[in-house]
């Protein structure tokens, strides 16, 4: 059984996906969600194989929701976003359906995913049973009505699409960060609760192992992104990477003190002290117009 979840804030939009899915008895819709919060809960509960995800939704949008899911499943976006806006993501998502979409277009997206899914499963089976040079033809664990013939034709280039769906979702999220949708806030999960931090509330960011620690006046939050991701996404006129491990909000700066031989120390309104490297000091001066 293939488990799918539909996440869309418009009831009729969910209805149409469910209706189209009736042609695929192997795909079961385990839950429908009206917003991203419900969506996260449902994903954690059901561990679906496939998501039908709208982008513009209440509170947190589809991309932000995906960021908060530990192992995001494969995603087919269903959105009214115009093609231009979504073109950046098209190579990474399994597919995107522009509303309104017809059954043919929907079938194409499903078939594409079924192919990828079957290949990934076959690869998993292959590596699990007899590791490297197995010549077993991949077996589709879910021989859907239309995927069987196409499968055999695509097995030749198997190794590439194998890592597809999930890996793609991850790459996609990095791309999505650059959309204006997300540049004005950061969504984090803290103690099972979801918090939306407007960027102007950020005091500074600190590298912390594989995470970035976001310091705000309400405390610090962890986000599993890289410093260079934030350096690129955040507005360069407001956020400066002053140090390999620090990005600070220049509006929070009250004082800059010399520190050790080449470095400086920024004192923020909150009293926090942020190290500034030699190169960082040059950047900071440029942004502050000193």
């Amino acid at each position: 059984m293939i488990k799918a979840i539909i996440i869309d804030d418009e009831p009729l939009a969910r209805l149409i996906v469910r209706e189209y899915l009736q042609a695929y008895p192997e795909i079961t819709v385990v839950q429908e969600c009206g917003d991203g919060f419900e969506g996260i809960k449902a994903i954690q509960q059901h561990h679906p194989d496939l998501l039908f995800l709208d982008i513009q939704m209440p509170k947190i949008n589809g991309f932000e929701m995906l960021e908060l899911v530990e192992e995001p499943p494969a995603v087919i976006f269903t959105t009214a976003f115009d093609e231009y806006a979504i073109r950046a993501f098209e190579t990474h998502a399994v597919d995107y359906l522009l509303k309104p979409f017809n059954k043919q277009r929907f079938d194409k997206a499903i078939r594409k995913w079924l192919d990828q899914h079957a290949l990934a499963q076959a690869a998993a089976v292959r590596t699990a049973t007899n590791p490297p040079a197995a010549e077993n033809p991949p077996v589709s664990p879910n021989p859907g009505p239309m995927d069987a013939p196409r499968l055999t034709t695509e097995t030749g280039s198997a190794s590439e699409p194998v890592r597809n769906s999930r890996e793609n979702t991850r790459v996609l999220l990095d791309t999505a960060g650059y959309s204006p949708l997300q540049q004005h806030r950061v969504v984090v999960k803290t103690g099972g609760k979801i918090k939306i931090i407007p960027v102007e509330d950020i005091h500074y960011l600190e590298a912390s192992d594989d995470y970035v620690k976001i310091h705000t006046h309400n405390g610090a939050f962890l986000k599993n992104k890289t410093m260079s991701y934030f350096e690129k996404v955040l507005d360069a006129a407001q956020f400066v990477r002053t140090h390999r491990s620090y990005i600070l909000n220049v509006q929070q700066v009250t004082r800059i003190d010399p520190y050790e031989k080449d470095g400086h120390l920024c004192i923020l309104q909150s009293g926090a002290q942020v190290p500034v490297s030699k190169a960082g000091y040059v950047k900071l001066k440029a942004v502050l117009g000193l």
Partner: protein
Amino acid sequence: MLLLGFGLNPGTALTDSLVTNALLALACSFISNNLQYYLPKNERYWYILFVSLGLSGLILLASKGILVPLLGAKTGDNNYALFFSRSWPVRFDIIFLQMGCMTILSVLWYSSEEEQQNLQRRADAERLSREAELTKLRQQFAPHFLFNSLNSISALVGRQPEEARKMIQQLSDFLRGNLRRDDQQWVLLSVELQYLELYLAIEKVRFGHRLSTVIDHDLPSLDMRLPPMLLQPIVENAIKFGLYDTTEPVTISISARAEDHFVRITVQNPFDPETSRPTKGTGFGLSSIQRRLYLLFARADLLETRIEGCLFTTTVKIPQLSIPYTTNADNKISLTNNNDL
């Protein structure tokens, strides 16, 4: 007349003055014609001076060339030639003064004319660009709305074809209304509210039970007028804020009240103060409304936003321009053309 005093006989004096004045008039018309097509720039007035001086000299020479042989031959003596050679500095001065006056007058006249044309042109350009901007501001309605509505219709077609047909009708009416509007005609609030209800009905189909609306108005406000497509983006903005900033059911309230020379329209929507900063940027919808109001009324104080707890309130006041001039006979005209103000 002056020449008589120098002891010349009337015939000679008359001929002299006629010829001189004719030449002067010729030169003046030449200069003023020239200036009509070529106005010197500010720094180049010395050029006019030189032209005047040169022309004065030419006139003097020409009048000498005509008058001395003519009158000298008539009277048969040297008196006139003598008189002319004595009087030439005075003649030159007078001629030059007249030329100068003429030149200055023409310069003033033509430059003021040019100034007026410039003003006219600038006003035209401003009016055109304002019209273009207004058109653009009006037309920026969300394609999202259209595509999502079509998607809803697509979903309804299978199970509830009657509902689908109804929604297609509503959507068509709405789009038709959107196309038909132009800034030349202000609309009655009652008409605008009907149109708004059409829009809200479509949104309610899209969002189901999550969206409810309350519209209330007093009677006199229904007869008041407002520019078309001004209210709708405000409501659109409220819906966007309300629906996308909370996950709970949302109520949008719209109220209209008549006041002295104004109709005051208030739109209220819930929002989450934790995550949104509606005060900072007024959001796309509202900043374009602000701009439009400014273009229409040259006032920046007609749109106000207020935050009380979790409620975001947008208030817009539309001046009723015809009311202060009710005694005026062209009241009707000012009512339909008040977008020119």
